[in-house]
Amino acid sequence: MTREDTVIAEDLSFGYPGQARLFERLSLRFAPGTVVAVLGPNGRGKSSLLRLFAGLEQPLAGRISVAGVDPAGPEARDLARVAGMVAQSSDRHFLRTKVQDEVALTARNLYLPDPAALAAQALERLGITGLAAQHPLDLDAGEKRLVALASAIAHGPRLLLLDEIQRGLDRINRQKVIRLIRAEAAQGTTILAVTHDRDFAEAIAGAELVFGDDGIRLT
Protein backbone atom coordinates (compact mmCIF):
# COMPACT_ATOMS: atom_id res chain seq x y z
CA MET A 1 0.00 0.00 0.00
CA THR A 2 1.73 3.15 -1.13
CA ARG A 3 2.35 5.76 1.57
CA GLU A 4 1.26 8.46 -0.88
CA ASP A 5 -1.35 10.77 0.67
CA THR A 6 -4.95 9.72 0.04
CA VAL A 7 -6.31 13.24 -0.19
CA ILE A 8 -4.39 16.18 -1.66
CA ALA A 9 -5.93 19.65 -2.05
CA GLU A 10 -3.84 22.52 -3.40
CA ASP A 11 -4.87 26.23 -3.41
CA LEU A 12 -8.49 25.20 -3.23
CA SER A 13 -11.04 28.01 -3.29
CA PHE A 14 -14.79 27.62 -3.39
CA GLY A 15 -18.00 29.59 -2.97
CA TYR A 16 -21.56 29.14 -4.19
CA PRO A 17 -22.49 31.36 -7.15
CA GLY A 18 -23.47 34.82 -6.02
CA GLN A 19 -22.22 34.24 -2.47
CA ALA A 20 -19.05 35.13 -0.63
CA ARG A 21 -16.19 32.68 -0.98
CA LEU A 22 -16.19 30.01 1.73
CA PHE A 23 -12.46 29.39 1.53
CA GLU A 24 -9.49 30.66 -0.44
CA ARG A 25 -6.20 28.95 -1.42
CA LEU A 26 -6.79 26.08 1.02
CA SER A 27 -4.11 23.36 0.88
CA LEU A 28 -4.52 20.08 2.76
CA ARG A 29 -2.93 16.64 2.68
CA PHE A 30 -4.28 13.58 4.50
CA ALA A 31 -2.30 10.34 4.70
CA PRO A 32 -3.95 6.90 4.63
CA GLY A 33 -5.46 5.91 7.97
CA THR A 34 -5.99 9.50 9.14
CA VAL A 35 -9.30 10.36 10.84
CA VAL A 36 -10.11 14.08 10.73
CA ALA A 37 -13.06 15.66 12.57
CA VAL A 38 -14.29 18.71 10.67
CA LEU A 39 -15.63 21.21 13.20
CA GLY A 40 -16.95 24.76 13.22
CA PRO A 41 -20.15 26.81 13.06
CA ASN A 42 -22.83 26.32 10.45
CA GLY A 43 -22.52 27.90 7.02
CA ARG A 44 -18.71 28.03 6.96
CA GLY A 45 -18.42 25.41 4.22
CA LYS A 46 -17.76 22.20 6.18
CA SER A 47 -20.23 20.19 4.11
CA SER A 48 -19.12 21.97 0.94
CA LEU A 49 -15.56 20.76 1.50
CA LEU A 50 -16.86 17.20 1.70
CA ARG A 51 -18.91 17.74 -1.44
CA LEU A 52 -15.80 19.00 -3.25
CA PHE A 53 -13.90 15.85 -2.33
CA ALA A 54 -16.96 13.83 -3.41
CA GLY A 55 -16.98 15.51 -6.82
CA LEU A 56 -20.45 16.94 -6.16
CA GLU A 57 -19.20 20.54 -6.38
CA GLN A 58 -16.69 22.16 -8.75
CA PRO A 59 -13.84 24.16 -7.14
CA LEU A 60 -13.47 27.78 -8.32
CA ALA A 61 -9.70 27.32 -8.26
CA GLY A 62 -7.15 24.78 -7.14
CA ARG A 63 -6.67 21.07 -7.62
CA ILE A 64 -7.92 18.02 -5.72
CA SER A 65 -6.70 14.46 -5.88
CA VAL A 66 -8.37 11.55 -4.09
CA ALA A 67 -6.14 8.44 -4.32
CA GLY A 68 -4.91 9.81 -7.63
CA VAL A 69 -8.37 10.56 -9.03
CA ASP A 70 -9.55 14.10 -9.79
CA PRO A 71 -13.10 14.23 -8.32
CA ALA A 72 -14.14 16.80 -10.94
CA GLY A 73 -13.18 14.28 -13.67
CA PRO A 74 -15.77 13.11 -16.19
CA GLU A 75 -16.06 9.50 -15.01
CA ALA A 76 -18.18 9.24 -11.85
CA ARG A 77 -17.20 5.60 -11.69
CA ASP A 78 -13.50 6.43 -11.15
CA LEU A 79 -14.18 8.48 -8.02
CA ALA A 80 -16.82 6.03 -6.73
CA ARG A 81 -14.12 3.34 -6.76
CA VAL A 82 -11.95 5.24 -4.28
CA ALA A 83 -14.48 7.18 -2.21
CA GLY A 84 -17.63 6.53 -0.17
CA MET A 85 -19.97 9.06 1.48
CA VAL A 86 -22.75 9.17 4.05
CA ALA A 87 -24.52 12.51 3.56
CA GLN A 88 -27.16 13.88 5.96
CA SER A 89 -29.89 12.70 3.59
CA SER A 90 -28.38 9.27 2.80
CA ASP A 91 -30.64 7.46 5.27
CA ARG A 92 -33.70 8.88 3.54
CA HIS A 93 -32.81 8.01 -0.04
CA PHE A 94 -32.33 4.29 -0.42
CA LEU A 95 -31.97 3.25 -4.05
CA ARG A 96 -33.00 -0.42 -3.64
CA THR A 97 -35.80 -2.24 -1.86
CA LYS A 98 -33.66 -4.81 0.02
CA VAL A 99 -30.85 -3.92 2.41
CA GLN A 100 -28.43 -6.44 0.84
CA ASP A 101 -29.00 -4.98 -2.67
CA GLU A 102 -28.60 -1.45 -1.31
CA VAL A 103 -25.27 -2.25 0.31
CA ALA A 104 -24.01 -4.09 -2.79
CA LEU A 105 -25.05 -1.32 -5.22
CA THR A 106 -21.77 0.57 -5.55
CA ALA A 107 -19.77 -2.64 -5.94
CA ARG A 108 -22.21 -3.74 -8.64
CA ASN A 109 -21.95 -0.39 -10.49
CA LEU A 110 -18.17 -0.74 -10.38
CA TYR A 111 -18.38 -4.30 -11.78
CA LEU A 112 -16.36 -5.55 -8.79
CA PRO A 113 -16.23 -9.35 -8.37
CA ASP A 114 -18.97 -10.83 -6.13
CA PRO A 115 -20.74 -7.69 -4.85
CA ALA A 116 -23.08 -9.82 -2.70
CA ALA A 117 -20.12 -11.11 -0.67
CA LEU A 118 -18.77 -7.57 -0.23
CA ALA A 119 -22.21 -6.49 1.01
CA ALA A 120 -22.41 -9.41 3.45
CA GLN A 121 -18.99 -8.49 4.85
CA ALA A 122 -19.96 -4.86 5.33
CA LEU A 123 -23.19 -5.83 7.11
CA GLU A 124 -21.22 -8.26 9.27
CA ARG A 125 -18.70 -5.57 10.28
CA LEU A 126 -21.58 -3.36 11.47
CA GLY A 127 -23.39 -6.25 13.17
CA ILE A 128 -26.58 -5.84 11.10
CA THR A 129 -26.47 -9.06 9.06
CA GLY A 130 -29.98 -9.79 10.30
CA LEU A 131 -31.33 -6.82 8.32
CA ALA A 132 -30.10 -8.13 4.94
CA ALA A 133 -33.50 -9.16 3.58
CA GLN A 134 -35.52 -6.27 5.00
CA HIS A 135 -36.83 -3.19 3.18
CA PRO A 136 -34.65 -0.19 4.09
CA LEU A 137 -37.73 2.01 4.69
CA ASP A 138 -39.06 -0.43 7.28
CA LEU A 139 -35.98 0.06 9.51
CA ASP A 140 -35.66 2.41 12.49
CA ALA A 141 -33.51 5.56 12.38
CA GLY A 142 -30.43 3.85 13.82
CA GLU A 143 -30.61 0.85 11.51
CA LYS A 144 -31.06 3.14 8.49
CA ARG A 145 -27.88 5.05 9.37
CA LEU A 146 -25.89 1.83 9.79
CA VAL A 147 -27.15 0.56 6.41
CA ALA A 148 -26.13 3.87 4.80
CA LEU A 149 -22.68 3.47 6.37
CA ALA A 150 -22.41 -0.16 5.21
CA SER A 151 -23.36 0.98 1.69
CA ALA A 152 -20.50 3.51 1.74
CA ILE A 153 -17.78 1.05 2.81
CA ALA A 154 -18.77 -2.23 1.07
CA HIS A 155 -16.67 -1.50 -2.06
CA GLY A 156 -13.54 -0.71 0.00
CA PRO A 157 -13.04 3.02 -0.64
CA ARG A 158 -9.73 4.75 0.23
CA LEU A 159 -11.61 7.87 1.44
CA LEU A 160 -14.74 7.88 3.61
CA LEU A 161 -16.73 11.13 3.88
CA LEU A 162 -19.20 11.35 6.80
CA ASP A 163 -21.58 14.28 7.42
CA GLU A 164 -23.00 14.39 11.00
CA ILE A 165 -23.13 10.57 11.04
CA GLN A 166 -23.49 10.48 14.83
CA ARG A 167 -26.76 12.52 14.73
CA GLY A 168 -29.66 10.81 16.48
CA LEU A 169 -27.81 7.54 17.24
CA ASP A 170 -28.34 5.87 20.62
CA ARG A 171 -25.44 4.56 22.68
CA ILE A 172 -25.23 1.12 21.04
CA ASN A 173 -25.38 2.40 17.44
CA ARG A 174 -22.96 5.19 18.31
CA GLN A 175 -20.50 2.58 19.58
CA LYS A 176 -20.91 0.56 16.38
CA VAL A 177 -20.11 3.60 14.25
CA ILE A 178 -17.08 4.52 16.35
CA ARG A 179 -15.70 0.96 16.21
CA LEU A 180 -16.24 0.82 12.45
CA ILE A 181 -14.45 4.16 11.92
CA ARG A 182 -11.48 3.01 14.00
CA ALA A 183 -11.34 -0.32 12.10
CA GLU A 184 -11.47 1.44 8.71
CA ALA A 185 -8.68 3.80 9.77
CA ALA A 186 -6.60 0.81 10.89
CA GLN A 187 -7.00 -0.65 7.39
CA GLY A 188 -5.61 2.60 5.88
CA THR A 189 -8.85 4.34 4.94
CA THR A 190 -8.78 8.13 5.32
CA ILE A 191 -11.89 9.47 7.04
CA LEU A 192 -13.25 13.03 7.09
CA ALA A 193 -16.17 13.45 9.49
CA VAL A 194 -18.15 16.69 9.77
CA THR A 195 -19.67 16.81 13.25
CA HIS A 196 -20.73 19.31 15.90
CA ASP A 197 -20.59 16.66 18.67
CA ARG A 198 -17.31 17.21 20.53
CA ASP A 199 -17.49 13.89 22.41
CA PHE A 200 -17.86 12.04 19.13
CA ALA A 201 -15.03 14.03 17.52
CA GLU A 202 -12.67 13.15 20.38
CA ALA A 203 -13.67 9.49 20.21
CA ILE A 204 -12.82 9.02 16.54
CA ALA A 205 -10.40 11.71 15.36
CA GLY A 206 -6.62 11.99 15.49
CA ALA A 207 -6.79 15.45 13.96
CA GLU A 208 -9.29 18.30 13.81
CA LEU A 209 -9.97 20.64 10.88
CA VAL A 210 -11.58 23.67 12.50
CA PHE A 211 -13.54 26.19 10.39
CA GLY A 212 -12.99 29.10 12.80
CA ASP A 213 -13.56 32.85 12.58
CA ASP A 214 -9.90 33.32 11.62
CA GLY A 215 -9.95 30.79 8.78
CA ILE A 216 -9.41 27.07 8.65
CA ARG A 217 -6.81 25.43 10.94
CA LEU A 218 -5.70 21.82 11.07
CA THR A 219 -4.69 20.80 14.60
Binding site: P41, N42, G142, L169, R171, R174, H196, D199, F200
Partner: protein, 240 residues
Amino acid sequence: MALNVSDLSFSWPGKPPLFRGLSFALAPGERLSILAGNGMGKTTLARGLAGFLTTEGGLYWQGEALNSMSRADHARLVQIVGQRPHLQLSGRGYSLREEVAFGPENLGLPVAEIRARTAEALHFLNLTHLAERDCRRLSGGETQRAALAGALAMRPRLLILDEPMTDLDAESRDALAGHLRSLPWEMAVIFLDIGWQSWMAGLVDRHLLLDQGEMHGPLTTEALFATPLPERIFLAGQPA
Protein backbone atom coordinates in the same frame (compact mmCIF):
# COMPACT_ATOMS: atom_id res chain seq x y z
CA MET B 1 -53.87 16.59 37.26
CA ALA B 2 -53.80 17.77 33.66
CA LEU B 3 -52.51 14.65 31.86
CA ASN B 4 -53.20 11.24 33.42
CA VAL B 5 -51.62 8.16 31.80
CA SER B 6 -52.40 4.81 33.41
CA ASP B 7 -51.09 1.43 32.22
CA LEU B 8 -50.86 2.63 28.61
CA SER B 9 -49.70 0.12 26.03
CA PHE B 10 -49.57 -0.18 22.27
CA SER B 11 -48.46 -2.75 19.71
CA TRP B 12 -48.58 -2.81 15.94
CA PRO B 13 -50.87 -5.58 14.65
CA GLY B 14 -49.08 -8.89 14.97
CA LYS B 15 -46.07 -7.39 16.74
CA PRO B 16 -44.91 -7.54 20.38
CA PRO B 17 -45.99 -4.49 22.44
CA LEU B 18 -43.87 -1.43 21.65
CA PHE B 19 -44.52 -0.15 25.16
CA ARG B 20 -46.70 -1.40 28.01
CA GLY B 21 -47.63 -0.48 31.54
CA LEU B 22 -46.77 3.21 30.97
CA SER B 23 -48.13 5.27 33.86
CA PHE B 24 -47.46 8.83 34.92
CA ALA B 25 -49.27 12.07 35.59
CA LEU B 26 -48.38 15.59 34.48
CA ALA B 27 -49.65 18.83 36.01
CA PRO B 28 -49.99 22.04 33.95
CA GLY B 29 -46.54 23.58 33.59
CA GLU B 30 -44.75 20.34 34.45
CA ARG B 31 -41.90 19.04 32.24
CA LEU B 32 -41.08 15.37 31.69
CA SER B 33 -38.57 13.60 29.44
CA ILE B 34 -38.92 10.04 28.11
CA LEU B 35 -35.57 8.66 26.96
CA ALA B 36 -35.46 5.68 24.59
CA GLY B 37 -32.91 4.26 22.13
CA ASN B 38 -33.36 3.92 18.37
CA GLY B 39 -36.24 1.62 17.44
CA MET B 40 -37.81 1.68 20.91
CA GLY B 41 -40.92 3.44 19.55
CA LYS B 42 -40.37 7.08 20.54
CA THR B 43 -42.31 8.58 17.63
CA THR B 44 -45.09 6.02 18.03
CA LEU B 45 -45.18 6.86 21.75
CA ALA B 46 -45.44 10.57 20.91
CA ARG B 47 -48.43 9.87 18.61
CA GLY B 48 -49.92 7.57 21.26
CA LEU B 49 -49.63 10.16 24.04
CA ALA B 50 -51.17 12.77 21.71
CA GLY B 51 -54.15 10.46 21.24
CA PHE B 52 -53.52 9.71 17.56
CA LEU B 53 -53.38 5.92 18.04
CA THR B 54 -55.88 3.43 19.47
CA THR B 55 -53.87 2.59 22.56
CA GLU B 56 -54.96 0.36 25.44
CA GLY B 57 -55.09 1.67 28.98
CA GLY B 58 -55.96 5.10 30.34
CA LEU B 59 -55.12 8.36 28.56
CA TYR B 60 -57.04 11.25 30.11
CA TRP B 61 -56.78 15.03 30.00
CA GLN B 62 -58.59 16.46 33.00
CA GLY B 63 -60.80 13.38 33.07
CA GLU B 64 -61.67 13.35 29.35
CA ALA B 65 -60.38 10.47 27.22
CA LEU B 66 -57.76 11.96 24.91
CA ASN B 67 -58.27 9.72 21.92
CA SER B 68 -62.02 10.22 21.68
CA MET B 69 -62.07 14.02 21.51
CA SER B 70 -63.36 15.96 18.52
CA ARG B 71 -60.60 16.92 16.11
CA ALA B 72 -61.11 20.61 16.91
CA ASP B 73 -60.79 20.06 20.70
CA HIS B 74 -57.84 17.79 20.04
CA ALA B 75 -56.10 20.46 17.95
CA ARG B 76 -56.62 23.01 20.73
CA LEU B 77 -55.20 20.68 23.35
CA VAL B 78 -52.08 18.89 22.11
CA GLN B 79 -49.33 19.61 19.58
CA ILE B 80 -46.32 17.55 18.53
CA VAL B 81 -43.10 19.03 17.13
CA GLY B 82 -41.14 16.27 15.40
CA GLN B 83 -37.61 15.68 14.24
CA ARG B 84 -37.84 16.65 10.60
CA PRO B 85 -38.77 20.35 10.22
CA HIS B 86 -39.97 20.28 6.60
CA LEU B 87 -42.56 17.56 7.22
CA GLN B 88 -44.39 19.77 9.69
CA LEU B 89 -45.16 22.69 7.40
CA SER B 90 -48.61 22.63 5.86
CA GLY B 91 -47.40 24.09 2.56
CA ARG B 92 -50.68 26.05 2.65
CA GLY B 93 -49.04 29.37 3.22
CA TYR B 94 -46.45 31.04 1.07
CA SER B 95 -45.19 33.45 3.67
CA LEU B 96 -44.13 32.26 7.10
CA ARG B 97 -46.92 34.43 8.55
CA GLU B 98 -49.56 32.53 6.51
CA GLU B 99 -47.99 29.22 7.53
CA VAL B 100 -48.21 30.01 11.24
CA ALA B 101 -51.74 31.39 10.79
CA PHE B 102 -52.89 28.14 9.14
CA GLY B 103 -53.72 26.47 12.48
CA PRO B 104 -55.73 29.31 14.08
CA GLU B 105 -57.53 29.83 10.75
CA ASN B 106 -58.65 26.19 10.78
CA LEU B 107 -60.19 26.72 14.21
CA GLY B 108 -62.44 29.36 12.63
CA LEU B 109 -61.25 32.02 15.09
CA PRO B 110 -62.11 35.71 14.51
CA VAL B 111 -59.55 37.67 12.42
CA ALA B 112 -58.24 39.69 15.36
CA GLU B 113 -57.56 36.49 17.34
CA ILE B 114 -55.80 34.84 14.38
CA ARG B 115 -53.58 37.89 13.90
CA ALA B 116 -52.79 38.19 17.60
CA ARG B 117 -51.83 34.54 17.97
CA THR B 118 -49.74 34.58 14.78
CA ALA B 119 -47.84 37.73 15.75
CA GLU B 120 -47.31 36.41 19.28
CA ALA B 121 -45.96 33.04 18.10
CA LEU B 122 -43.64 34.67 15.55
CA HIS B 123 -42.38 37.15 18.15
CA PHE B 124 -41.88 34.44 20.76
CA LEU B 125 -39.61 32.48 18.38
CA ASN B 126 -37.81 35.54 17.10
CA LEU B 127 -39.19 35.05 13.59
CA THR B 128 -40.99 38.37 13.13
CA HIS B 129 -38.30 39.61 10.77
CA LEU B 130 -38.94 36.55 8.56
CA ALA B 131 -42.75 36.87 8.61
CA GLU B 132 -43.05 37.66 4.91
CA ARG B 133 -40.27 35.28 3.88
CA ASP B 134 -41.26 32.45 1.54
CA CYS B 135 -41.36 29.32 3.70
CA ARG B 136 -39.41 27.36 1.16
CA ARG B 137 -36.40 29.65 1.60
CA LEU B 138 -35.99 29.06 5.34
CA SER B 139 -32.97 27.24 6.77
CA GLY B 140 -33.40 23.99 8.69
CA GLY B 141 -33.19 25.77 12.03
CA GLU B 142 -35.64 28.48 10.98
CA THR B 143 -38.08 25.86 9.66
CA GLN B 144 -37.99 24.03 12.98
CA ARG B 145 -38.71 27.26 14.83
CA ALA B 146 -41.52 27.88 12.33
CA ALA B 147 -42.95 24.43 13.14
CA LEU B 148 -42.85 25.27 16.87
CA ALA B 149 -44.42 28.68 16.15
CA GLY B 150 -47.23 26.95 14.25
CA ALA B 151 -47.77 24.63 17.20
CA LEU B 152 -47.73 27.44 19.79
CA ALA B 153 -50.20 29.49 17.74
CA MET B 154 -52.72 26.76 18.60
CA ARG B 155 -52.16 27.60 22.31
CA PRO B 156 -51.78 23.89 23.25
CA ARG B 157 -51.88 22.87 26.89
CA LEU B 158 -49.78 19.76 26.16
CA LEU B 159 -46.68 20.06 23.94
CA ILE B 160 -44.77 16.93 22.88
CA LEU B 161 -41.29 17.40 21.40
CA ASP B 162 -40.05 14.27 19.56
CA GLU B 163 -36.26 14.60 19.03
CA PRO B 164 -36.65 18.29 18.07
CA MET B 165 -32.89 18.93 17.92
CA THR B 166 -31.61 15.86 16.10
CA ASP B 167 -31.57 17.38 12.60
CA LEU B 168 -30.36 20.82 13.75
CA ASP B 169 -26.85 22.26 13.71
CA ALA B 170 -25.31 23.47 16.97
CA GLU B 171 -26.32 27.15 16.57
CA SER B 172 -29.96 26.40 15.73
CA ARG B 173 -30.03 23.94 18.59
CA ASP B 174 -28.92 26.58 21.12
CA ALA B 175 -31.41 29.09 19.69
CA LEU B 176 -34.32 26.64 19.96
CA ALA B 177 -33.25 25.56 23.49
CA GLY B 178 -33.33 29.23 24.53
CA HIS B 179 -36.93 29.54 23.34
CA LEU B 180 -37.90 26.27 25.06
CA ARG B 181 -36.69 27.74 28.35
CA SER B 182 -39.24 30.53 28.13
CA LEU B 183 -42.24 28.43 27.04
CA PRO B 184 -45.51 29.59 28.61
CA TRP B 185 -45.45 28.01 32.08
CA GLU B 186 -48.98 26.70 32.20
CA MET B 187 -48.21 24.30 29.30
CA ALA B 188 -47.25 20.68 30.16
CA VAL B 189 -44.26 19.60 28.04
CA ILE B 190 -42.97 16.10 27.23
CA PHE B 191 -39.50 15.71 25.66
CA LEU B 192 -38.75 12.47 23.80
CA ASP B 193 -35.11 11.81 22.92
CA ILE B 194 -32.39 9.17 22.54
CA GLY B 195 -30.77 10.25 25.77
CA TRP B 196 -30.04 13.11 28.09
CA GLN B 197 -28.69 16.12 26.14
CA SER B 198 -26.91 19.18 27.46
CA TRP B 199 -29.69 21.51 26.19
CA MET B 200 -32.07 19.77 28.62
CA ALA B 201 -30.25 21.20 31.64
CA GLY B 202 -32.57 23.60 33.47
CA LEU B 203 -35.44 22.58 31.21
CA VAL B 204 -36.50 19.19 32.54
CA ASP B 205 -35.53 17.34 35.67
CA ARG B 206 -37.90 14.32 35.62
CA HIS B 207 -36.95 11.47 33.30
CA LEU B 208 -38.64 8.19 32.37
CA LEU B 209 -36.64 5.52 30.55
CA LEU B 210 -38.20 3.24 27.92
CA ASP B 211 -36.30 0.10 26.94
CA GLN B 212 -37.61 -3.09 25.27
CA GLY B 213 -41.19 -1.94 25.96
CA GLU B 214 -40.62 -1.54 29.74
CA MET B 215 -40.78 1.80 31.51
CA HIS B 216 -38.25 2.74 34.26
CA GLY B 217 -38.18 5.78 36.53
CA PRO B 218 -39.00 8.58 37.04
CA LEU B 219 -35.43 9.70 37.83
CA THR B 220 -34.02 13.16 38.44
CA THR B 221 -31.14 14.27 36.22
CA GLU B 222 -28.73 13.71 39.05
CA ALA B 223 -30.08 10.17 39.60
CA LEU B 224 -29.79 9.60 35.84
CA PHE B 225 -26.02 10.05 36.01
CA ALA B 226 -25.75 7.99 39.18
CA THR B 227 -27.64 4.78 38.39
CA PRO B 228 -26.70 2.21 35.69
CA LEU B 229 -28.96 2.78 32.68
CA PRO B 230 -30.39 0.47 30.00
CA GLU B 231 -27.54 0.06 27.51
CA ARG B 232 -29.18 2.04 24.69
CA ILE B 233 -29.80 5.22 26.72
CA PHE B 234 -27.25 7.90 25.92
CA LEU B 235 -25.86 10.55 28.25
CA ALA B 236 -24.17 13.59 26.74
CA GLY B 237 -20.97 14.54 28.50
CA GLN B 238 -20.20 10.98 29.56
CA PRO B 239 -17.24 9.38 27.77
CA ALA B 240 -18.61 7.77 24.60
